[in-house]
C-alpha cells in the first residue's frame, strides 16, 4: 500500500459543495472527480459525495439546471424538460455575430462600395459567395444594380441596417484609415 493517506480535509461539506459547483460550472469539458480531487487536494470520495449531494439538492429544489455524469465526468446543463423554452430562447438571441470571412467581406464592401463579386475576390483572394449570402441574409448589404462591364456583374453596397448595427449616422462616419494612422502602426 503506497497510497499516502494525506488528511487534508480543510473544507466543510458545504464549502466543498460550493467550490465543486463553481468548478463544474467554469470547466470547458466534463470534469472528473479525480481532477477535482487533485486540484482541491481532497479525497475522491469526498468529491463524489459533494457532487451527489449537489445533484440531490438541484433536484429537490426543482432547479433549472442539473449536474450530470457524461463522458466519465461531471457537467452542468439545463434540465431536459426545459428544452423547448431553452431552444426558443437560443433562437431569439439577437445575433450580431459574423464569422471572420463575413466580416472581411463586409469590410471590403463597406470601403469599396459599390463593388462586384469579382472585385471582392480580387481583394480578398478567396471566393466570398457564402459570406455574401450571409450578409444579404442578415440584411447588412444590398444589391446596388449592375456594373457596366463584361457580364454585367451585380454590385453590392451596405444597407441601412448596416448603419444601424454599427451605430453609424451615415457612411461618412466610418473610420477612415487616417483616423487610425496614429493609432494603428
Amino acid at each position: 500500500m503506497e497510497t499516502e493517506e494525506s488528511e487534508k480535509i480543510h473544507r466543510s461539506p458545504v464549502e466543498l459543495m460550493a467550490i465543486v459547483e463553481a468548478l463544474i460550472f467554469v470547466a470547458e469539458e466534463p470534469v472528473t472527480s479525480k481532477l477535482l480531487g487533485e486540484v482541491l487536494e481532497e479525497e475522491k470520495g469526498a468529491i463524489d459525495a459533494a457532487v451527489e449531494q449537489l445533484q440531490q439538492d438541484y433536484e429537490a429544489r426543482d432547479a433549472g439546471l442539473q449536474i450530470r455524469e457524461i463522458a466519465g465526468g461531471w457537467q452542468m446543463a439545463t434540465r431536459t424538460e426545459l428544452h423547448e423554452d431553452v431552444r426558443k430562447f437560443l433562437k431569439t438571441r439577437p445575433s450580431a455575430k459574423l464569422s471572420l470571412a463575413s466580416l472581411e467581406t463586409l469590410a471590403v464592401i463597406a470601403y469599396k462600395q459599390p463593388v462586384t463579386v469579382p472585385e471582392i475576390l480580387e481583394i480578398r483572394g478567396v471566393q466570398s459567395a457564402s459570406a455574401i449570402k450571409t450578409l444579404l441574409d442578415k440584411r447588412l448589404i444590398i444589391a446596388r444594380g449592375r456594373k457596366e462591364a463584361v457580364g454585367r456583374p451585380m454590385m453590392y453596397g451596405t444597407s441601412k441596417d448596416f448603419l444601424l448595427q454599427f451605430g453609424l449616422k451615415d457612411l461618412s462616419e466610418l473610420p477612415s484609415i487616417e483616423d487610425f494612422e496614429d493609432l494603428v502602426t
Binding site: 467554469v26 446543463a77 471572420l100 466580416l103 472581411e104 473610420p175
Partner: protein, 257 residues
C-alpha cells in the same frame, strides 16, 4: 540594494512613483511610471509638501527640470508633452517675477494669477487620476469572478462580435495581404492544396488540437499561407472539426469534435 532603473511596472498600491537621489556619481533613480507631465507635477507638489492652490512655482519648476534632465541623462526619450509643460512652467515663473501693473494694483479682482490655469488643469486632471484608481480596483475585483465554460450551444465560437473598428482593422489586413500577394513573384516548389489538407488532417488527429497561429507561422511564403488557410477552411467544412476562439482576437484553435 537598489534596483536598476525600473520602469513601467505599475501597481496602484505597491508601486508609488518616486525619484531617488541623483548625484552625478551615484545615480540611483527609480523612475515612477508617470502617466504624463501633469502626473509628474502633482507628484512633485506632493513631494515638496506644497499647497496646490499656492504652488511655489520657482521651486517646482526647478525640480521638474531636474527630473527631465535626469531622464535625458538616462537616455530615456522625453515625450514632447513633458517639454511643453517645462516651457509652460518657465513662462509662469517669469510672469510671476514681473512687477504688477501699478494701475491694476488695488483692484485685486482684475489680477489674474499666472498659475491659475495650471492649477485648474491639475485639479481637473487629478479627478480623473482618482477615477482611474477606482477603475483599477473594480477590475481587480472583477478578475475574481468567472463565467461558465462553453456549453454545447456555443459550438460556433469561431464567430466574433464586430464593431466599426474591427471592420477597419480587418479591411487593412485584407488590403495588406493583397499587396503582399502581388509582390510575391518568386516561384518555388509549393505544396499543393490536397497535400496541405492531408498533412494538416494528420497532425490534427495526432494532436487533437492545432493552433492556427502556429500552423500559419510555419508557412514559408504567402502562397503557402493562403493554401494553408484554404486547407483549414476545407477541413472545417468537410471533417468533424471545430474552430474555436477562446478570446476575442485570441489564437484560433482547430479541434477534433
Amino acid at each position: 540594494m537598489d534596483q536598476e532603473v525600473e520602469q513601467f511596472t505599475f501597481d496602484f498600491y505597491n508601486e508609488k512613483a518616486q525619484i531617488l537621489g541623483g548625484s552625478s556619481e551615484d545615480l540611483k533613480i527609480k523612475l515612477g511610471d508617470f502617466a504624463g507631465p501633469l502626473d509628474l507635477l502633482l507628484f512633485l507638489i506632493k513631494q515638496e509638501q506644497a499647497n496646490i492652490f499656492d504652488i511655489p512655482i520657482a521651486r517646482i519648476t526647478e525640480k521638474y527640470l531636474e527630473y527631465i534632465r535626469l531622464m535625458k541623462r538616462l537616455d530615456i526619450a522625453v515625450a514632447a508633452d513633458f517639454l511643453v509643460m517645462a516651457a509652460t512652467l518657465i513662462e509662469i515663473k517669469s510672469k510671476m517675477l514681473l512687477p504688477r501693473d501699478p494701475k491694476a494694483e488695488g483692484e485685486d479682482d482684475e489680477f489674474e494669477d499666472p498659475r491659475k490655469e495650471l492649477v485648474d488643469r491639475l485639479l481637473e486632471y487629478e479627478k480623473f487620476k482618482s477615477a482611474a484608481g477606482m477603475l483599477y480596483e473594480r477590475s481587480t475585483i472583477e478578475q475574481a469572478i468567472f463565467t461558465r465554460g462553453p456549453i454545447d450551444s456555443d459550438d460556433n465560437n469561431a464567430e466574433i462580435n464586430a464593431t466599426v473598428f474591427d471592420i477597419l482593422t480587418v479591411f487593412q489586413k485584407v488590403v495588406a495581404r493583397h499587396k503582399e500577394d502581388i509582390k510575391m513573384e518568386i516561384e518555388r516548389e509549393e505544396i499543393s492544396l490536397a497535400d496541405m489538407i492531408k498533412n494538416l488532417t494528420r497532425r490534427l488527429h495526432e494532436q487533437k488540437e492545432l493552433s492556427l497561429l502556429t500552423v500559419f507561422e510555419e508557412m514559408r511564403s504567402k502562397r503557402e499561407l493562403v493554401t494553408a488557410f484554404i486547407a483549414v477552411l476545407e477541413i472545417v467544412r468537410t471533417e468533424g472539426v471545430k474552430l474555436m476562439q477562446r478570446k476575442t482576437f485570441g489564437d484560433i484553435v482547430l479541434k477534433v469534435s
